[in-house]
């Protein structure tokens, strides 16, 4: 699916696609650089805190690599423009925070239904509503999963550092092309604004779009290949495809019947679920002998690691399961960990969204302690430690 492109080929001598080297940048900037390196050529967004550094970097960088930046009139338009650009044949991305994410939901559903590859970044802040524009939150995790109407599957990745923000953005583009689905980067204000060392490699793989293998007269735009993903004919390529958000058959034509609908919705889910093991990324830290496992993601998982270290200092055998892929939820990883510990602790900056998934995946075989905060600040390692001690009490 991918071929290697280096800084010196493909785009000519003036290529600035890959800023190879060691940088000091924040998570937002790292996401922008990850996108440019992955071959993103179109970015549409509306300004919102704490996302603005992504848009600002893209506005600077895209003209340098032959791409187009446009600041749209709102997030509804930004998401629609990204889908349009993807059908125009380029890799496209948008970025926002909670309020804008809400506005994008309808068109995220259009991208799911029309199988449009694109990347959507949500730098989460305190919510609901306008909430805490400048302060951290992780309250959009369930919205990422179910925010658009209808039943669908989506891929969401959550970085815990600017370096990982860069790496996951590159991977997000590859996944979006591979599965023809919007891929969400669910980061947060702290990772977005945190400055750290980011190493950009000499080579970054550029994912190729799957193209039709038959002439236009034989081509069915929604006839999937063996892996349930159909090749994509973009505008102007001579295939004259019809693309609709209505339920459609393999020709792409609207078909208003329950059987076609069921078949389509199942395929849209199955094309991702069948291959989820390829991209269910997580990290197990100090879990080998652990009696308590802390499950967390994004900035909270970084604090959770501090809590686990405090517990170890006190002689408590604690470990961390850090989720990198949050959707589809890593059921198996959570279940396996749950089977060998006495209790689970979930740390997140909301009042228990991923905790529900942990409970479901672990099938209630061990007690679960939530370490929750509604937003506005990150946890302290001591709060995580308290959660670890609390869950051990449940067993006594």
């Amino acid at each position: 699916m991918t071929n290697k492109t280096t800084a010196r080929d493909a785009l000519g001598p003036a290529d600035k696609r890959i800023l190879a080297g060691i940088h000091f940048m924040n998570g937002d900037e790292a996401i922008a650089e990850g996108a440019i390196a992955a071959g993103c050529k179109f970015f549409a967004a509306y300004p919102i805190t704490p996302q603005s550094e992504i848009a600002e970097r893209m506005a600077r960088r895209l003209p340098q690599v032959g791409g187009v930046f446009i600041q749209m009139e709102d997030e509804l338009g930004a998401m629609a423009a990204v889908i349009g650009a993807a059908w125009g044949g380029v890799k496209a991305m948008t970025a926002t925070s909670g309020p804008g994410f809400s506005l994008m939901m309808e068109n995220i559903g259009l991208a799911v239904m029309t199988e449009t590859p694109c990347v959507v970044v949500n730098v989460q802040r305190g919510a609901p509503s306008t909430g805490l524009p400048t302060l951290v939150g992780q309250g959009d995790m369930m919205q990422a999963r179910w925010g658009s109407h209808g039943h669908y599957e989506i891929i969401a990745l959550s970085p815990w550092s600017p370096q990982e923000a860069f790496d996951l953005t590159v991977k997000a583009f590859a996944l979006s092309e591979r599965f023809r689905v919007p891929v969400l980067i669910m980061t947060d204000e702290v990772v977005g604004h945190m400055y750290e060392r980011v190493e950009i490699p000499e080579e970054v793989p550029v994912a190729q779009r799957r193209k039709p293998k038959v002439p236009p007269e034989e081509f069915l735009p929604y006839k999937p290949e063996e892996d349930l993903v159909p090749p994509m004919a973009c505008a102007g390529e001579g295939y004259r495809v019809h693309v609709t958000g209505l339920t459609h058959d393999e020709r792409g034509y609207p078909a208003m019947d329950p059987d076609t609908h069921d078949k389509l919705v199942r395929r849209l889910c199955e094309k991702i679920l069948r291959y989820r093991s390829e991209f269910t990324w997580y990290e197990e830290i100090m879990l080998e002998d652990a009696e308590v496992a802390v499950v967390s993601y994004g900035i909270s998982s970084r604090i959770a690691l501090g809590g686990v270290e405090l517990a170890r200092e006190k002689g408590i055998k604690a470990g961390l399961l850090r989720l990198i892929t949050v959707w589809p939820f890593p059921d198996e990883a959570v279940r396996r960990v749950a089977e060998r510990v006495k209790g689970l602790v979930v740390v997140e900056i909301n009042l228990g969204q991923i905790a529900r998934e942990v409970e479901r995946a672990s099938r209630g075989i061990v007690p679960i302690q939530g370490v929750f905060h509604a937003g506005g600040r990150i946890h302290t390692p001591e709060e995580v430690l308290a959660g670890i001690e609390e869950v051990l009490k449940c067993r006594q």
């Binding site: 179109f42 709102d74 423009a81 068109n107 693309v243 609709t244």
Partner: protein
């Protein structure tokens, strides 16, 4: 009880064996269309297809984008790259599509509710930026698909299902709105003026920048029926009686008021740099400065 017959879709054949000359641009396997008899959308569609034909534009290089509603079904019938998007978002989709592939002639075909109520913000901003797209708005003064509700162009006192006692809202004057937002080509026709409409679409397709044509169309099923224009022909007679062809008129005074004469024709035809032209100019300046 008689067995339920499966829904059959017979191909209408007015003259056996005779095909419409524009069939080559249509997805004939999707016919018959869903539009009501007497609706003006067919005339708008054929005017567009004749315009493509007469200009000799490669249909592989035309993309049609629609929103939601009766006019939203446009994209489904043309045999070109065609996109039936979400309600109100045809314009931003088209903006992204055009910027990603500037070789395409991108045409938005949608209705008054889609473009000016739920999608109004995108319209004025695409016009302001002079995005290089052509927007054809079929204005039937109501939401036809959902059963005939009040829309942003519904005239004063008109009856709709959500203005049962007569509309008391002020409607938009679309050509004035387009002109003041910065559109560089603005025209209005009715579906009675099919040839003039076709010529106007030809001009718009060749005109770089944000082009807007309002196409006033009958909706006998939902609008006409409730407003003493029960028969589509009544509405066509009304257009013949009241439409005054005049070019270069100030669009500010070109309102459509029931019972009164209204102006059709070309209001604006100017040239100014498009968004992409300006973007490219900036990029070239950047390259010249930094290499």
């Amino acid at each position: 009880m008689p067995a339920v017959k499966p829904k059959s879709k017979p191909r209408p054949e007015v003259l056996p064996g005779v095909r419409h000359p524009m069939e080559k641009y249509l997805r004939t396997d999707r016919l018959p269309h869903i539009w009501c008899s007497g609706c003006g959308l067919g005339i708008a569609l054929s005017s567009f297809l004749y315009a493509i034909e007469e200009l000799g534009i490669d249909p592989n290089k035309v993309a049609v984008v629609s929103g939601i509603g009766c006019s939203g079904r446009f994209a489904g019938y043309v045999k070109m790259d065609s996109y039936h998007t979400t309600h109100g978002r045809a314009i931003p989709f088209a903006v992204g599509l055009k910027l990603a592939n500037p070789d395409l002639n991108v045409v938005v075909f949608s209705g008054d509710g889609d473009l000016f109520a739920i999608g109004g913000n995108h319209f004025i901003h695409a016009a302001r930026r002079n995005a290089d797209i052509t927007v054809l708005c079929v204005n039937n003064f109501n939401y036809g698909m959902t059963g005939g509700q009040l829309g942003p162009t519904t005239p004063p006192e008109a009856r709709t299902t959500t203005s049962p006692y007569g509309n008391f809202e002020h409607p938009f004057n679309l050509v004035y709105l387009a002109a003041s937002a910065g559109a560089t080509y603005v025209a209005r026709w009715t579906t009675l003026h099919a040839r003039r409409l076709k010529e106007s679409i030809k001009e718009a397709l060749q005109h770089p920048g944000f082009n807007f044509i309002e196409i006033i169309s009958p909706c006998p099923t939902n609008f006409g029926r409730r407003n003493r224009l029960r028969d589509a022909l009544d509405e066509m007679r009304y257009y013949a009686d009241k439409a005054v062809i005049q070019h270069g008129v100030d669009p500010a005074g070109a309102e459509v008021v029931p019972g009164k004469e209204f102006i059709v024709g070309k209001f604006v035809d100017v040239r100014k740099p498009t968004y992409l032209e300006l973007y490219r100019k900036k990029t070239e300046e950047l390259a010249a400065r930094f290499g």
